[in-house]
């Protein structure tokens, strides 16, 4: 494989939330195939700054696929073409010489653009604040081993807890639904005895917060699962639905 490729980037530029955005096209000759996607963006920005232009703003932090900050819609897909991969872990060897890469921000009313590719995901925080916790004050906890948890349940709970809150599920969903994100937290806690006392109120409040934020409704398509960098299954959405039904039908 050749060590460098030439690319064209078609990038969404938008000065701030209220400004009108547009696409800009940039030539990127000689991109090393060993670079990560974000490093390629660094190189673009370096070029732009030296040329007296403003760099492309994008969210990023850990660059190892765990903080969930990076959020780019690359060539029509959240986080780019690979499965189970965040944009920061995507490397340029997966692109072809001569390709034009379109880069857009997450699109959803609940995620307004702050600038260029940066969006505001505080709606996710609000969903967690509505009930994504176990109400236990510091110092109240009983001995850790006094609460046994079936191994397979702990494992499944972990699968859900692996969510990094990046928003790729919303970005990929035809309906801009955050159901995978929401269900991951509900399911994690529903599978553990620790989550039991608050399970009813939790699911009702979190669903309410989800709707208030302006996310769409889930229609069980599964695009979220396919583009989730942590491969979280939509089976957790089924569990959320069950929890919701249970909570709604309960007497109080």
């Amino acid at each position: 494989m050749s060590e460098t490729i030439n690319l064209k980037l078609k990038v969404w530029r938008q000065k701030n939330t209220s400004a009108k955005g547009r696409f800009e096209i940039y030539d990127m000759p000689g991109v090393s195939t060993h670079m990560s996607f974000l490093e390629m963006m660094d190189v673009l920005n370096d070029k732009l700054i030296r040329g007296g232009q403003e760099p492309v703003a994008f969210d990023h932090d850990c660059r190892e696929g765990i903080c969930g900050m990076c959020s780019m819609f690359i060539n029509g897909r959240a986080h780019g073409p690979l499965r189970g991969t965040t944009a920061c872990q995507l490397h340029m060897r997966h692109f072809q010489d001569g390709e034009t890469i379109t880069i857009e921000p997450w699109r959803a009313n609940a995620f307004p653009v702050i600038r260029d590719l940066v969006v505001d995901r505080s709606a996710f925080d609000k969903i967690i604040q509505a009930g994504g916790f176990v109400s236990v004050n510091t110092g109240n906890a009983p001995d850790a081993n006094s609460i046994p948890v079936e191994k397979h349940k702990a494992e499944e709970s972990f699968d859900a807890a692996a969510c990094i809150g990046c928003g790729a599920c919303v970005a990929s969903c035809k309906n801009s639904s955050a159901m995978l994100f929401l269900s991951a937290k509900v399911s994690q806690l529903a599978l553990l005895p620790q989550g039991d006392p608050e399970r009813k109120v939790r699911v009702l409040k979190m669903v309410q917060a989800h709707d208030e934020a302006g996310f769409g409704s889930c229609t069980n398509i599964g695009a979220c699962e396919a583009k989730c960098p942590k491969n979280i299954s939509i089976a957790h959405i089924a569990r959320l639905n069950k929890e919701y039904l249970r909570a709604s039908l309960a007497r109080d």
Binding site: T102, V207, C218, N241, Y244, L245, L249
Partner: protein, 227 residues
């Protein structure tokens, strides 16, 4: 009770309405297919006609009929509502979107297939239900069916519509269980297979009538219409 009804106000509740009404309509489909299969008895349409007369005369079925119409109505209205609601959740759309591999075609196009089925339903009711049930035509229903399917365009419309119905069911059947929480990691794959199987049975079952009558296979048409 009122407290429990509040559950339907949320996005999760709304899709449960879709699931519940959808499954209700599925039971109707099964019953409908059973009735239709009586056309294959090669008894000159007697069993089928008796069955349809029973449906018209039974008081119980009157009540069920109302529920059925309500079910359709709610399913359609809620479907339109959700489709629009979900479209509105993303005002600015993507320039480039690659959806292949991200869920099935069937699941992404429930609104479209639903609309086609609705159009079909109007035609279908106009052809059979309205004349037979409302105006009480003199000819037997079996005769109406057999003669209607001699028409090229009519038979074709039915076959195409049944393929679309199959597409709708292929996603809808298993999705309904998912929406109601009857699913988990272990059942996901079998549920999908079951959904596809069910959709195929319904599609082949219903599509068989226009095909069988159009080509008069096994003489099903001549049995009812005579020569």
């Amino acid at each position: 009770m009122i407290h429990a009804l509040k559950m339907f106000y949320t996005t999760v509740g709304r899709k449960m309405i879709m699931a519940l009404t959808g499954l209700f309509l599925v039971t109707f489909l099964i019953e409908h297919l059973y009735g239709n299969l009586l056309l294959y008895k090669l008894d000159g349409g007697v069993a089928f006609n008796e069955y349809s007369e029973f449906l018209v005369s039974s008081l119980f079925i009157r009540v069920v009929e109302i529920a059925l119409f309500a079910g359709f109505l709610i399913h359609i209205i809620d479907g339109i509502y959700l489709t629009l609601y979900n479209r509105r959740a993303r005002k600015i759309r993507y320039e480039v979107e690659h959806v292949s591999g991200l869920g099935t075609w069937f699941s992404r196009n429930m609104g479209l297939t639903g609309a086609v089925i609705f159009f079909f339903l109007v035609v279908h009711l106009k052809s059979f239900f309205v004349p037979y049930r409302i105006f009480h035509t003199d000819t037997s229903l079996a005769y109406e069916v057999a003669s209607a399917f001699r028409s090229n365009w009519y038979a074709a419309l039915y076959v195409v519509s049944m393929v679309i119905l199959g597409s709708h069911l292929n996603h809808g059947f298993q999705s309904a269980f998912h929406s109601l929480g009857f699913n988990n990691i272990k059942y996901m794959k079998p549920m999908k297979t079951l959904g596809t199987l069910f959709a195929l049975i319904m599609m082949i079952g219903f599509a068989s009538f226009p095909i069988m009558f159009y080509f008069d296979i096994f003489g099903v048409g001549t049995d009812i219409l005579g020569h």
